[in-house]
């Protein structure tokens, strides 16, 4: 069966791999950083959390240089078509490095993790591993590579969720995350195998070619797409694959919650876009795609369900972390709206929305940590009167929440505006979805504003306490995030342009 390859063949394979490695530098660099962190953790002993955090941030910032160098390279597929270097991937590489850096900043101020008894070495190493995994999720063009990348992200995420070993809530969250994750990985893999069974290809472009040339069985196709959608929907936290997210977001250490809700969600979206736009063919006519597969309808239903469920259930939440978990389900629904349009404008709007989500969600969680450090809880009732005691944090949280609602003059408003305008530019076809989106945004106004309401208009039970000082660094980060959220709300053109530039790739497939 298996013939030994000749020397010349092997040499040519090796030279292809060597050539591909040149396009893979940021990932290799970050993998090396991962190992450096582990070695440093072993060498430096117990009390090294600050040192490791500094190394992690320095390393992540360093990787920006290698990503920047990639911008000059031409779009290409390498490693036998398993991996791509393109503008879309580069946008997400920047995004994930930024989210990694912010996650470290959140970790540094978190009191719970500060007190962790067995050190933070594994934590920072896993954080970097997750950045690599998410980059690979955004750039993989092969079913096997996609699965591998997703597992790398998932496994790191499970361990980080359960990092507070002594906290039963954290362990419970990790176990639930693991069990749901295992099931959804299995579904994804099953979907992939069906797709492979139909086409005998694992490369996304070739799958599309074979499907177009040889046809397909509609029943098997819809089955495969549904299963893959389930696997990806789990990463994105979209209804009906969201059941893990409230418990996991509440139980996990807060920096991890923020990291999961931004980083791994965005990675899921990147993968979904690449997969659906490239592998599953479709035409301009929305209802009669060349394959007569109405996966668009599936996405529409998932999106509508996520918006309605996330926003409505959030109303009754008493725990702020849980509230933000449900809001992140709702945001998955809004992001899906941009994908449903299936054109460059829609892709661009998703990228802008993700950028705004990065700032405002990390910002909100940052302040939640600052407050939890003080009050020891994330309950809504404990936020009473905090606006006067923590003036900067209170003001910043209000800005982030306004941005999450999508009101001007914040970045969140720009993101939502772009998504809805992309949707409405398709005519009346998606009017009902836009209506749901706008109505649920109004609902979200209510529950987001409960937090400032408690902070400013209700009196604290302990009014005798004066103004609480947070550290200088924490103040700086809070203020920076707040100013950026407002700044990009007014001067969004650079980001919008860069997102447009990054979404060009799919223009070729979509138009």
């Amino acid at each position: 069966m298996f013939e030994m390859p000749s020397g010349a063949e092997i040499q040519s394979i090796i030279s292809i791999l060597k050539g591909g490695a040149g396009f893979f530098v940021p990932e290799i660099y970050l993998s090396a950083l991962f190992m450096v962190l582990i070695i440093l953790d072993l060498v430096t002993g117990r009390k090294n959390a600050r040192f490791l955090a500094a190394v992690t941030i320095a390393g992540l910032v360093g990787s920006l240089y290698y990503i920047f160098k990639q911008q000059a390279m031409p779009d290409t597929e390498f490693f036998f078509g398993m991996y791509a270097l393109d503008r879309f991937g580069i946008f997400f590489k920047y995004f994930f490095v930024a989210s990694g850096i912010l996650a470290v900043l959140l970790t540094v101020i978190d009191d719970q993790l500060k007190k962790h008894e067995s050190g933070m070495g594994e934590y920072y190493a896993l954080l970097v591993a997750m950045v690599v995994g998410m980059m690979m999720m955004a750039s993989s063009t092969d079913l096997l590579m996609m699965f591998l990348a997703m597992e790398l992200v998932s496994l790191s995420a499970y361990a980080m969720t359960g990092y507070l070993k002594r906290d039963p809530r954290s362990s419970e969250a990790a176990l639930k995350y693991l069990v749901y994750g295992a099931v959804s990985s299995g579904m994804l893999l099953y979907g992939f195998s069906l797709l492979y069974g139909m086409t005998a290809q694992t490369n996304l472009t070739r799958i599309a070619m074979v499907l177009a040339a040889h046809g397909y069985d509609p029943l098997v196709m819809i089955m495969a797409v549904l299963l893959i959608m389930a696997g990806l929907g789990y990463k994105m936290g979209a209804v009906p694959f969201h059941f893990w997210s409230p418990d996991v977001y509440e139980g996990a250490p807060t920096p991890v919650t923020a990291y999961l809700s931004v980083g791994s969600k965005a990675a899921g979206f990147a993968m979904l876009m690449r997969f659906f736009f490239v592998a599953v063919p479709h035409g301009m006519d929305m209802y009669v795609s060349p394959l007569h597969i109405d996966w668009l309808m599936i996405l529409m239903l998932v999106s509508a369900a996520s918006m309605i469920y996330g926003n409505v259930v959030a109303i009754w939440q008493k725990n702020v972390k849980r509230l933000l978990a449900y809001s992140s389900i709702a945001h998955a629904g809004y992001l899906l709206l941009g994908i449903i349009t299936m054109d460059q404008l829609g892709t661009q709007s998703v990228l802008v929305y993700l950028a705004s989500y990065l700032l405002m969600n990390y910002g909100a969680f940052y302040v939640v940590i600052l407050i939890a450090n003080r009050t020891g809880s994330e309950n809504l009732d404990d936020y009473r009167g905090l606006g006067k005691k923590m003036p900067l944090a209170g003001a910043a949280l209000t800005v982030f929440l306004i941005s999450l609602v999508g009101l001007p003059p914040t970045f969140g408003f720009i993101g939502k505006l772009m998504i809805f305008s992309a949707l409405l530019s398709k005519g009346s076809l998606f009017m009902w979805l836009a209506l749901i989106g706008i109505l649920t945004s109004v609902i979200s106004l209510y529950y987001y504003m409960l937090i400032p309401l408690n902070m400013y208009l209700r009196e604290s039970e302990r009014p005798e306490e004066g103004v609480v000082e947070t550290g200088m660094g924490a103040k700086l980060v809070t203020a920076t995030l707040m100013i950026l959220t407002l700044y990009f709300g007014l001067f969004f053109q650079p980001i919008a342009n860069y997102a447009k530039y990054s979404s060009v790739l799919f223009g070729a497939f979509l138009n």
């Binding site: 030994m4 390859p5 000749s6 020397g7 092997i10 040499q11 090796i14 060597k18 190992m35 582990i38 070695i39 072993l42 069974g197 005998a200 040889h214």
Partner: protein, 143 residues
């Protein structure tokens, strides 16, 4: 396309033959063997020792750590073996690559070692809430 189909056909034939083989074995045994059950025979087989207690005992977490480390090196061998068979035409580049690969895995072992995950008898119990497991049980779980 034809080649692929025949490939799947082979798998199918294997599947059918496998089912027939196992089912045939059970069926023949059922027809030939005498049926004289007693409590001894009906009890769970635990390496020939009498079964003690329920199967739902808590396993010591250290078994998993050791199993994981074992799997790492198991997989390493799986990769090293095909590499060794084509080592000659691969040249020095492949040697460096495999050294990196083995080095990464060795780092994992060193990590587990330094963090004390390889010490079977810990100086202090790491999880105070968990009751100390009787040695006999550990031996059982192992066997």
């Amino acid at each position: 396309m034809d080649q692929t189909l025949s490939g799947f056909g082979t798998v199918f034939v294997f599947l059918v033959l496998g089912i027939v083989f196992v089912a045939g074995g059970y069926l023949t045994a059922r027809m030939l063997r005498p049926s004289r059950p007693n409590p001894e025979k009906n009890s769970t087989y635990e390496c020939g020792e009498p079964a003690v207690g329920s199967a739902w005992v808590k396993f010591n977490i250290r078994f998993y750590v050791v199993a994981l480390i074992f799997i790492i090196f198991d997989v390493e061998v799986v990769f090293l073996y095909p590499w060794a068979t084509v080592f000659k035409p691969l040249g020095p580049f492949a040697l460096v690559e495999v050294l990196i690969f083995a080095g990464i895995l060795a780092l994992g072992l060193i990590y587990a070692w330094v963090k004390g995950d390889l010490d079977w008898v810990r100086p202090t119990p790491n999880i105070p809430k968990m009751p100390e497991m009787p040695n006999r049980r550990i031996g059982k779980a192992n066997g």
